[in-house]
């Protein structure tokens, strides 16, 4: 027997209470872990953004298109290394529930702005040369079981062809991946010309322009020059760095970080009150036993540590169970939604932060009961028996 035995036995002396407390802590950390993992994957766009990459969109909104001619003019701006354009196709495969993130792009120019996209030998060239080719990210390909050589139809619920249909036939001739693990590969790209020439409306319009500058220090200058070029036109532009664009894209769904903070903060505050109050009650119930321990010679600081450790142990057990369950849930979600949430996993920093929060939670909830236990007066406590 040692102090840990005493701590453990005291913690689980009322099993139902211990289980309910652990469960409540578990739920708080489950929420923290799951939201933390989603937050990481949602905001990973700004992490993989290149320093010298700019995105130009319509000033009204990035969903509003701009004239195709803008692309040519942007390429001519001083300091621009490469510029490509892309348009949102949306699209789905066979059923509207099977959404496929698909972009119509200027193949060669667009790929020049994304040198981190990796293709198997010959497939990059095959994509550029073949007008009906669909380049598919590895996550998307593995989700649908597509391989190079497959011919598939993709339907759009936005765009219509002049023949009245919304279906485009594609030959998958390239499967690409990101150079780094955290780069998304859950989308597909195809030739803008193949898309544009069949459109029933909105022809010769593009969604956005991606530009790389010759030096990141030129970013502001190039952005200002691009936007100045189209000022006072029917389609004014707004140019920002890719990181800022990605962040703005995520924030259109709301301030994720603030929501996360609010939800997790509420959960932890509730747990703090519940666990803190229960610990105070639990220690009050044991005043007599604490007095006996002090009578036997257990010094007050040791009793303080034992009560505090009890609270920390409870919090860490609940926290680890919650984070473990969150990891299992995230892994399960990542398996079924790999194509839509690439890179979804329990980030190590979220897990470590969770463990640290669990320790802090335990210290905070245990502080008052530990002080109370330390201050127990033997004569008074034994006299109440």
């Amino acid at each position: 027997m040692n102090d840990l035995t005493l701590i453990r036995k005291n913690l689980f002396r009322k099993k139902l209470r211990a289980i309910l407390l652990t469960l409540s802590i578990l739920i708080a950390f489950l929420i923290f872990g799951v939201l933390g993992a989603f937050h990481t994957v949602w905001t990973s766009g700004s992490e993989v953004a290149a320093d010298n990459r700019l995105v130009t969109v319509n000033k009204i909104n990035f969903t509003v298109s701009m004239p195709y001619a803008y692309w040519g003019r942007v390429q001519a701006v001083e300091g621009v290394e490469a510029a490509g354009h892309a348009s949102w196709f949306g699209g789905y495969y066979q059923d509207p529930t099977q959404q496929v993130q698909t972009f119509a792009i200027s193949p060669e120019a667009y790929l020049a702005t994304y040198p981190e996209l990796v293709f198997p030998e010959g497939q990059r060239e095959a994509f550029i040369e073949n007008r009906t080719c669909l380049a598919v990210g590895t996550d998307l390909a593995s989700f649908f079981g597509w391989e190079a050589g497959d011919r598939i139809p993709l339907l759009s619920n936005i765009w219509q062809k002049t023949d009245g249909t919304s279906s485009w036939e594609f030959d998958i001739c390239a499967i690409f991946d990101g150079r780094e693990e955290n780069m998304p590969a859950n989308y597909a790209m195809f030739h803008y010309d193949y898309y544009n020439e069949a459109l029933a409306f909105n022809q010769d319009q593009i969604g956005w322009i991606v530009t790389t500058t010759t030096d990141p220090s030129l970013n502001d200058q190039v952005a200002r020059e691009i936007d100045a070029m189209f000022a006072n036109s029917p389609a004014e532009t707004e140019t920002s760095t890719e990181a800022a664009f990605n962040e703005a894209f995520v924030n259109q769904f709301g301030n994720i970080a603030l929501i996360l903070l609010f939800v997790v903060g509420s959960a932890f505050t509730t747990i703090l009150i519940i666990v803190g109050f229960t610990m105070v009650t639990a220690i009050n119930e044991r005043t007599g036993e604490i007095a006996v321990m002090k009578t036997l010679g257990f010094p007050a600081p040791r009793i303080f540590r034992m009560v505090l450790s009890e609270s920390v142990l409870l919090s860490v057990i609940g926290g680890l169970l919650g984070l473990g369950l969150a990891t299992l849930m995230i892994n399960a979600i990542a398996t079924v939604a790999a194509a839509f949430l690439p890179g979804l996993a329990m980030p190590l920093d979220v897990f470590v932060a969770g463990v640290i929060i669990a320790v802090i939670l335990g210290l905070v909830t245990g502080l008052v009961p530990a002080i109370n236990a330390q201050r127990v007066r033997i004569v008074t406590a034994l006299g109440k028996q």
């Binding site: 027997m1 005493l6 036995k9 002396r13 006996v292 036997l296 010094p299 004569v379 028996q385």
Partner: protein, 236 residues
Amino acid sequence: MEPVASLYELKDLSKSYTRGKESIAIFEHLTMSIPQGDFIAIMGPSGSGKTTLLNLLGGIDRPSSGAVECEGVRVDKLSEGKLAKWRSENVGFIFQFYNLMPTLTAAQNVELPLLLTKLSGKQRKERVKTALDIVGLADRAGHRPRQLSGGQQQRVAIARAIVADPKVLLCDEPTGDLDRASADEILETLQLLNKDLGKTIVMVTHDPSAAKYAQRELHLDKGRFVEKELNPEPAQ
């Protein structure tokens, strides 16, 4: 015959408490000596200060004035930390309601004071076994308090009190919650600890037949010892 060395010296001991603005004296100017190996029964009416005196001897309360000396150590002057250490090394406590930890087994309850020593796990186990053997409860080592009778629980409490080999056992109504047969067993055990192991025992009791097991009876009333009796032939 060699003079018996004194274990405790109480000098001009006073204890009072305040109720509102009023100071109420429990006892005043109490002076006494407790020799090593003594077995004293302190008797007296409720409120006479028996338990308070026991608390002062055990260093869990402090006098209002005067001195409590144990083998030359001014117990009343020790800091809280030193007092806790002194208690763990010198005093074994036995309470009326046993005060065992309900979550621990009999053996673990007995082992509790040994957590304050530097003994190894193996040494602690041996000590616990010996202590439980002395009180005749070795076969109940794995039982929790609620699985034991009142008498058995008190014997576990005695084992816990002696396991660290203290000089003195302070017993506060150790048979107050027991039937006569169990009480006699407990008192016989205390007598054995006094006679065979040389433990000094100070026992507070209301029960005259319990007091008969002691070598001496001291009657505390209205703050002073009014009567001292010797039990030349303590009960067997």
